[in-house]
């Protein structure tokens, strides 16, 4: 039915019906309910938040860009924003490093094993991310699994809890399915003859990966990277609990400013800055993905 709906004749018929001023099921009117939903529940609150960020003080007496000026002038704010974006980047790279081998193993596994593998990959998603975060505290803590094992082997403690590597590890495990699932889709869609052809031309396993598999799956990888990056920079619960109070990222900072200090205008300005940074990253990744997709089609 989808194929039928996309034929040019069908679309032309729809448009001419619309032109005859009778209510017709065009693409625009079909998308209207969801569009209205986004307008009312996403864009309108964001616009309201932007207006709040323009207030110069908590009583909303004067308006201007003073909150943004304050944000730009204090080094602390830049440092926190930078560290948050850095965390997102590290998490994305770690997810890529784990997801590719996993996707390749899945693609080469016998068909009977694949449902079991898929279940194991998705299994963490069946528990809430809060539960998984607390599990990481048990694993990474001073009396936890990692440190106890190292001590019993006579090695020094890793002390990963409340450190940046610890947060990256926990976030990577929690966000990994977001990267693995698009990659699996892309890898099993690859023409197996391409890899065979590259082998017969003399390419080894690594070159085959970098020259054949990576470019062909790049669009899926950038899609996964988009999901992982935005999820990692806004993962309030994991950042706060595994990071502790000394690792301050934007979500906890905004929470402290808004609910802790009740400074709503400055918190709104900080939120807008985080949103702007995330949108920039999304735009960059989308451009990369678009470029990769065009190269593949050639």
């Amino acid at each position: 039915m989808a194929a039928f709906a996309s034929t040019p004749g069908f679309v032309a018929a729809l448009h001419s019906a619309a032109r005859r001023r009778r209510w017709a099921l065009t693409e625009r009117s079909l998308a209207a309910p969801l569009g209205l939903f986004y307008l009312v529940f996403l864009f309108a609150p964001l616009a309201a938040l932007f207006v709040v960020s323009l207030s110069a003080d908590r009583t909303f007496s004067r308006f201007g860009f003073s909150q943004y000026a304050t944000f730009f002038s204090e080094r602390l704010n830049w440092a926190i924003l930078g560290e948050t974006l850095e965390l997102g980047l590290m998490c994305t790279l770690a997810c890529l490093a784990f997801a590719y081998p996993l996707a390749l193993v899945y693609a080469r596994a016998p068909r009977r094993v694949r449902p079991l593998m898929l279940f194991l990959i998705v299994l963490p998603q069946l528990t809430s991310s809060v539960v998984r975060t607390f599990a990481w505290i048990v694993i990474l803590g001073r009396e936890g699994v990692v440190d106890s094992t190292l001590l019993s082997l006579g090695l020094p403690r890793a002390g990963l809890l409340f450190t940046t590597p610890g947060v990256v590890v926990a976030l990577t495990q929690i966000q990994l399915p977001l990267m693995v699932l698009p990659l699996i889709n892309a890898v099993i869609g690859l023409d197996p003859h391409l890899l065979e052809a590259s082998q017969s031309l003399g390419a080894g396993a690594w070159r085959g990966f970098f020259r054949v598999i990576l470019p062909l799956t790049a669009p899926a990888a950038t899609a996964g990277a988009l999901l992982v990056f935005t999820a990692a920079i806004s993962a309030f619960v994991t950042q706060s609990i595994v990071g502790g109070g000394r690792l301050v990222y934007m979500p906890k900072y905004i929470y402290d400013l808004s609910i802790g200090a009740q400074d709503w205008p400055f918190a709104a300005a900080a939120t807008m800055m985080l949103l702007a940074a995330a949108l920039l990253a999304v735009a960059a990744l989308s451009w990369l993905g678009g470029r990769a997709a065009r190269r593949v089609q050639r």
Partner: protein
């Protein structure tokens, strides 16, 4: 792998979804029976204490259903101001700092002291001034692991001792606990609420000793339990509650005194059940409930003059209600005005 999407299938799914969403309503229809009161309470020790003692008492006295919502003080203020016409709970529980901060927001009903049964029984400093009575006084002192810390600490400045390197836990600056820690250290170093700079100077020297900073006060208990930290500023009732569960932790009063945080209850404006809300607050301030709550393992200091201090409370306070009030009470109006600045300074110093 493709899913056939037909109109019939979609209709069936929609009908199933609609029926499923009705099910919770059918199961809890008894909520429509005798009225319901939703009360906010702090997560952790407070929630446990109220769930086991106060909620059954109020349910028996009024026949209504009592629902407790665990939520921190400042979050309560945020939620109420976000939906004033239809507040998410009928009774708010606030520390003095957030309470004073929220007075100009006009989110509480004036407390009907004449209709209240227990308000007159409270000590003079605890009776309702305008918006609600003080239901308990939280005591802030030093919690420590007696198995790992040989001599009980005597002062806040003991946290700076080199033997505690990497073993000290601190609350975050946005909480009452964190704020009070800063003001007490400032006072010991020659400053106070109006001059907090000495505390931040001292905080820089404390950095090597800090083992962890808890994202919220309740997490300090978890850190003590896991052995991640051995000493921290903490609440008296929280400490004894986890000690009763087998955690190696003890509580001590610093020489400068226990910091008192008065915790009060308020009827939220536009509540649908003002009488039940008043009954709930009366229950919390009644001698019967407070007598139970100040015994093991809850240890909530009573404000009703007819509830006698238990031995543990009398011990840590150093006497009776008169001795209690000799302890320092923070100057919250000054603190509230400077809070944003303190949060930023604290964050700038402690972040790695």
């Amino acid at each position: 792998m493709s899913i056939k999407l037909t109109r019939r299938g979609l209709m069936k799914a929609a009908a199933a979804g609609a029926t499923a969403s009705l099910a919770p309503g059918l199961l809890t229809s008894r909520a429509f029976a005798a009225g319901e009161v939703v009360a906010a309470t702090y997560p952790g020790a407070f929630e446990e204490s109220y769930r086991k003692v106060l909620a059954p008492y109020v349910a028996k006295a009024t026949g209504a259903e009592v629902t407790l919502t665990p939520i921190l003080a400042l979050d309560q203020v945020a939620k109420i101001t976000a939906s004033r016409a239809n507040p998410p709970f009928d009774v708010a529980l606030l520390d003095e700092g957030p309470m004073l901060e929220s007075l100009p927001l006009d989110i509480f009903e004036p407390f009907p002291a004449a209709k209240s049964k227990s308000n007159a029984e409270l000590g003079k400093p605890f009776q309702s001034a305008s918006v609600g009575p003080t239901v308990t006084v939280q005591l802030i002192g030093i919690a420590y692991n007696p198995k790992k810390v040989s001599a009980p600490p005597t002062s806040w400045l003991d946290l700076w001792k080199p033997e505690f390197k990497g073993r000290v836990g601190l609350p975050d600056a946005a909480s009452s606990l964190g704020t009070v820690f800063l003001t007490e250290v400032a006072k010991l170093k020659g400053g106070g609420e109006k001059n907090i700079a000495p505390a931040f100077e001292a905080l820089k020297d404390l950095l090597p000793n800090i083992g962890a900073i808890a994202p919220n006060p309740g997490a300090l208990g978890t850190l003590l339990q896991q052995g991640q930290i051995d000493i921290a500023p903490f609440y008296f009732n929280n400490t004894l509650l986890i000690a009763a569960k087998g955690v190696d932790v003890a509580f001590t009063r610093p020489e400068s005194g226990l910091v008192l945080v008065r915790t009060s209850m308020h009827i939220v404006k536009n509540t649908k059940a003002p009488d039940l809300a008043l009954a709930y607050i009366d229950g919390a301030t009644s001698a019967e409930v407070q007598q139970q709550l100040q015994a093991a393992p809850y240890y909530l200091v009573p404000t009703n003059v007819n509830a006698k201090f238990s031995d543990e409370i009398a011990n840590v306070v150093g006497g009776g209600p008169d001795a209690l009030l000799k302890n320092p009470i923070p100057d919250w109006p000054t603190i509230n005005a400077a809070r944003t600045d303190w949060v930023k300074q604290f964050t700038a110093i402690v972040r790695k």
